[in-house]
């Protein structure tokens, strides 16, 4: 299989023009280079279509994930993945909120709790945060779990909004009742 032929099939796949057989073959034979090519084209497509591209540095979470991977964990794989995301978020949040605290004037009314600039600054410095984290021998605490019982009032309100606006009116309500009935198992 030539590289040119693979690229043609990748392009067809993104355009929705690849046949099922071609797609299956490509999936089977896809290597890392093909995956990166597909990713680049998807990104280009996003840009051309005016989709927002992320301002978060590419390695924002990567180094944190590496730290987490190094930890011994007895958690199931999906919990571990969540933990990685959450720790990345926790670093962003801590930085952001720290900036907020320092930048906010208690006398101003109405008071805007920082907003874009400190958040953006925190994101821009996320790479630095990651490096600091990498250097630090301190093991980041695992994210705590939000109890369903604590979430319940928020889930009720979110479900009502989702039922009204999400287009699948019954599904959010069924989700809420099922979660409530199985709450003990969740916790």
């Amino acid at each position: 299989m030539s590289a040119d032929r693979n690229r043609e099939t990748l392009s067809a796949l993104l355009d929705g023009e690849a046949s099922e057989l071609e797609a299956r073959r490509l999936l089977r034979d896809m290597n890392e280079e093909d995956g990166q090519q597909l990713s680049r084209w998807q990104l280009a497509s996003d840009v051309l279509q005016g989709h927002a591209v992320s301002a978060v540095p590419a390695d924002f979470a990567a180094s944190l994930c590496g730290q987490l991977d190094a930890q011994e964990s007895v958690r199931p794989a999906w919990v571990a993945r969540l933990g990685q995301v959450a720790v990345a978020a926790s670093v962003a949040a801590a930085t952001v909120f720290g900036w907020q605290y320092m930048d906010t004037s208690p006398a101003s009314t109405p008071m805007v709790a920082t907003g874009e600039a400190p958040f953006a600054r925190a994101l821009a410095e996320a790479e630095l945060v990651s490096r600091d984290f990498q250097r630090s021998p301190v093991v980041q605490a695992r994210p705590a779990t939000l109890a369903v019982s604590e979430l319940q009032p928020l889930l009720v309100r979110h479900s009502q909004f989702a039922a009204e606006h999400g287009g699948q009116s019954l599904v959010p309500l069924a989700r809420l009742v099922s979660l409530d009935a199985n709450r003990d198992a969740e916790e």
Partner: protein, 328 residues
């Protein structure tokens, strides 16, 4: 991160493309989808459905009717613990397994111009590719199966089975970026030849109630806020919001949707400063909470919604809080 998102979106495109060999004839599939939110809304019907999320499976009885122009629905959990939900227009009542009740009453007015009275239905954004997968049967009813393939990694994918004649949603799946089903809802029986009355949707008597009452004006100086997301995934827009009292504190909510996926951001005065992030993933529903210090105190900010973790993370990072300046 963007590369990973693009890659995962690409993977989902591939997976769903394999499952969906032909593109929709746009008009028929779009028309069917547009009918979905209001399908069978004016009719009375009773049905049974199964809901699957991970290892949890629930069987629910569903009653639906329209009285005085208000949608009435009742969902009863049939297996395991007893739980119910009654919806009467904008009022929502949840009966919890241990006997408690949470009541969400509609307010006379809302501070938010996009509140319940002024709600809008968003058209499906171009961030989803609609694919028709052909005919199928659900609960003995002829349906058309549609796939909604996300064009980016900021949202999940959907598979919907809509009744041929009414457009009613009879089966639904939410898929992650790898094509794994996170949640499935499927009717197993539907009876449209029923007569229902308002007593079928009556509130339970004698239960201990928690009322999440709406706050009609900015009365909690320093403790009530307005939420503003500086960044939203493409296609998402704010559609609703309110402030309600919970345990005596004002909890502000703002909800966002792209027409299918919805997430809501909440802000409530925090009793203690917390460090780090707390999370819970319940099928497609993610909850992420973090403490935001805002002098003189701080707020717990929580995002609840059916979006991937990366979306929640970026929305929270771009969130603005404005303290209300009303009078006590």
């Amino acid at each position: 991160m963007m590369q990973r998102l693009s890659r995962t979106a690409g993977s989902l495109c591939v997976v769903l493309a394999l499952m969906a060999p032909r593109l929709a004839t746009a008009d028929s599939a779009t028309a069917l989808l547009e009918r979905m939110p209001q399908a069978m809304a004016d009719s009375a019907w009773r049905g049974r459905l199964v809901y699957l999320r991970g290892a949890d499976m629930s069987t629910l009885e569903v009653l639906h009717a329209l009285f005085d122009g208000k949608t009435h629905e009742r969902l009863i959990h049939l297996d395991g613990a007893h739980a119910e939900l009654i919806r009467r227009g904008d009022d929502l009542i949840c009966l919890h397994p241990k006997g408690g009740v949470t009541r969400l009453d509609s307010g006379a007015a809302s501070l938010n111009p996009l509140a319940l009275s002024g709600r809008v239905s968003l058209p499906l954004p171009p961030e989803y590719q609609l694919v028709a997968r052909g005919a199928d049967r659900v609960a003995g009813i002829e349906t058309q199966q549609l796939s909604l393939v996300p064009a980016d990694g900021w949202r999940y994918g959907y598979q919907l089975w809509l009744a041929d004649d009414s457009g009613m949603l009879l089966k639904s799946e939410v898929l992650d970026s790898k094509g794994q089903v996170l949640e499935r809802m499927e009717f197993v029986a539907l009876d449209t030849d029923v007569t229902l009355s308002t007593t079928d949707f009556a509130s339970p008597a004698g239960a201990e109630e928690t009322v999440l009452a709406p706050v009609e004006a900015p009365t909690f100086v320093g403790r009530q806020v307005t939420l503003d997301a500086q960044w939203l995934p493409p296609g998402f827009a704010p559609v609703d919001g309110d402030t309600r009292l919970a345990a005596g504190e004002p909890v502000t909510a703002r909800s966002y949707t792209d027409g299918l996926a919805t997430f809501t951001v909440f802000a409530e005065p925090a009793s203690d400063a917390r460090e780090g992030v707390r999370i819970n993933q319940m099928g497609p529903t993610l909850a992420v909470s973090a403490y935001m210090p805002v002098p003189p105190a701080g707020f717990d900010i929580t995002l609840v919604g059916e979006v991937p973790p990366a979306t929640a993370e970026k929305v929270l990072a771009g969130l603005n809080l404005v303290l209300e300046s009303g009078v006590d």
